[in-house]
Symmetry: C2
Amino acid sequence: MVVEKKRSPVGAAVLRDDITVAIRGAVVAELAEVGYGRLSIEAVARRAGVSKAAVYRRWRSKLDLVLDLVSATAGRNLPLLDTGSLLGDLELLLQVMARALQHRMALQIIPDLLAEAARTPQIAEKLHQTLEDYQRTIGLVVIGRAVERGELSAATDQRLAVDLIVGPIYWRLAITRTPLGTAEVRRAAEMIVAALQVAGAGPDAPEAEV
Amino acid sequence: MVVEKKRSPVGAAVLRDDITVAIRGAVVAELAEVGYGRLSIEAVARRAGVSKAAVYRRWRSKLDLVLDLVSATAGRNLPLLDTGSLLGDLELLLQVMARALQHRMALQIIPDLLAEAARTPQIAEKLHQTLEDYQRTIGLVVIGRAVERGELSAATDQRLAVDLIVGPIYWRLAITRTPLGTAEVRRAAEMIVAALQVAGAGPDAPEAEV
DNA sequence: TAACGACGGTACGGTTGCGTCGCGACGCGT
DNA sequence: ACGCGTCGCGACGCAACCGTACCGTCGTTA
């Protein structure tokens, strides 16, 4: 018993998927090429081979466009396989991250949006939430699993731990843009394990801001 | 960088320093507010209370303007005091970095320029060179000193070591923008020391790219 | 005191993007 | 066969910047 009001759902004149897809692709390309700051609807439409009106029919502004894109992309989570040891899990995670961060598009767009987040609250919120999810996943799965195995103290500061894991590889690949070999990833994993093992002290007294 | 021609040094009509300073300040402010992508000479001149012509008399383009600014700012090096131990040096370094990265301007401008570097070779080169100097300094002074003390193996991979030191704090403050307490900095320093100590293995066989 | 050159101000024509509108055409359900 | 809403296309007025040019003014130095 479908009670929907077919009152005025349209017939054959519906937003065409192929055009929507083309626009999304064009946004990604433009974002990589000129950045969010210089992104223009005109250029997006031009690149997608589409009229401006077609874009405005779907999204009200370039902010909407980008937020939507981030939402769609952010959904893809890393499969965190259980290798049986903290070192193994960590090395795998770093390898996956390294692979993702070597992609040209990612390397252009991610830092750009992160920088833009500093002045556009909506972007900041969306990215922050995505990052938070990502980091919590790492914390719970990788660290949590290691705690269950007895490899790490239960008092491990997850936030700090995640910083230690994610920070170096992001810095290396996205900031300094220096190539990273597999052997180096392995050694980095070993070093991080050592770091995590001395973190058992856990958070103590209330802290002063720096 | 204001060029001075000595041959026929002009009379009283010389580029005024106060105006140069005003423009520089305006560039920083604009850079923080709208980013490099949206930076316009018009806005800079407006903000500095100066005519566009005054800007063009000193710099040919906004790229020149920014490159000059980066050169001027990058000169300021961190004073790396010798505290007598790797842990002490590291904690001090992290505290100084944390302080620098908490400044609002830095937090807006640095990620923005780093992102822009991905598409503007001149900016990339200048920043890369600055970063390289900075990292080499950390490597030589902090790590080198610890090696002399016998705290670290001489085979320590300096590049990886620096990634481990700088990455986490940059990630935490500039990317996730989460506050960082002094006690956390201390614990992070301890963790990093542990990581560096297991890095003695040094670089081994030739590596495949990820 | 005369010359020089940067000063602020102002204006120029040209380019780019904005967001909206109307046109005729198209194709698909009713 | 009809009507719907999308399609591409083109045009609109408006705004921001671009880079350059020309003013009359001003302070210094030769």
